[in-house]
């Protein structure tokens, strides 16, 4: 089914894990999602119970996790919701059913979702560099920034795993062809 108008024939690789591909993928995506958010919450809880820097018991901790650190994660979560809610069959460009405006709209919304996720990732790197690394805090406190970046990376991985698990040929078609 070659169509010369399409730029990407297959945007994501087809990975066949057999019959339980969808189940395993969904579980894995959920685990990554929880892991991402707990990584950042770990930094937040650690900051709430922060002690003074090592070796200087009198000075208070120089930096805390504030609302600025939460913004990239919130952007990523919004993007995650948009990507998870979109209809996978619409985006893939099967214009046989429905109107082509629906495909266009679905692609636009998908673009917004991925832009939100990428913006969250970029924002977390920005916070890491501007708030923690440039100010030269000890390693105990730059951990907050690294946790933020890993939260957004894991959220993006989770979205990709969920997409791969839910798209592609389903077992229903497989049963029909047999």
């Amino acid at each position: 089914n070659y169509d010369p108008r399409r730029v990407c024939l297959n945007p994501f690789p087809e990975i066949s894990l057999g019959k339980h591909r969808r189940t395993v993928g969904v579980y894995l995506a959920g685990a990554l999602f929880a892991l991402a958010n707990w990584t950042f919450l770990d930094a937040a809880v650690l900051s709430a119970h922060a002690r003074s820097p090592w070796g200087q018991p009198d000075t208070p901790p120089p930096v805390h996790v504030t609302f600025v650190d939460w913004i990239p994660g919130i952007c990523s979560l919004l993007g995650y919701m948009v990507i998870a809610l979109i209809d996978k069959d619409r985006v893939c460009g099967d214009e046989g059913f429905g109107d082509s405006r629906a495909v266009w709209r679905a692609r636009l919304i998908l673009f917004i979702g991925f832009a939100l996720m990428a913006g969250g990732l970029a924002g977390s790197v920005t916070v890491l560099i501007l708030k923690y690394i440039l100010n030269g805090y000890p390693e105990q406190f730059t951990y907050y920034g690294y946790a933020n970046v890993s939260q957004n990376v894991a959220l993006m991985l989770s979205a990709i795993v969920l997409w791969i698990a839910q798209s592609g040929s389903s077992e229903y078609e497989y049963n029909l062809t047999l």
Binding site: V26, L28, A29, G30, A31, A34, D42, V45, N175
Partner: protein
């Protein structure tokens, strides 16, 4: 009755040991936050149980609600393991209490999984 009375007794012992570990991890250090782990693992099988009857039609096709149930289950299970680690990391609870509550939670959730696998009735009735 392949899985019989002995399995029930064994599983109930394992469940009791799991709860004992969690409650000991709370009571020995006078900090009752690890009890949240027990609550988390008890509600872990609920999403799959609720959404299992929503989606599957006679073709065996998995649909959106079933996926949502699996997603939520995975989130809750990972949260149950992550919560004591985080509390121990910020020194709210003792590291030994963290290890004990993780082992206890794993025993409780393993019991629930093993019970539902051993006594599931839907598969055997129609064969």
């Amino acid at each position: 009755m392949a899985a019989g009375l002995r399995t029930v007794i064994l599983l109930s012992f394992v469940l009791a040991v799991g709860f004992l570990m969690i409650i000991l991890s709370c009571a020995l250090w006078h900090n009752w936050l690890p009890l949240l782990v027990a609550l988390t693992f008890i509600i872990a099988p609920l999403p799959n149980a609720i959404f299992a009857h929503c989606g599957s039609d006679e073709y065996g096709e998995t649909s959106g609600p079933v996926d949502l149930g699996r997603f939520l289950t995975s989130i809750i299970v990972v949260s149950g393991f992550a919560l004591p680690i985080i509390l121990a990391h910020s020194e709210v609870i003792d590291p030994k209490a963290c290890v004990m509550s993780i082992i206890g939670g794993g025993l409780v959730y393993g019991t629930i999984l093993a019970y539902s696998a051993a006594f599931s009735q839907e598969d055997s009735e129609y064969e």
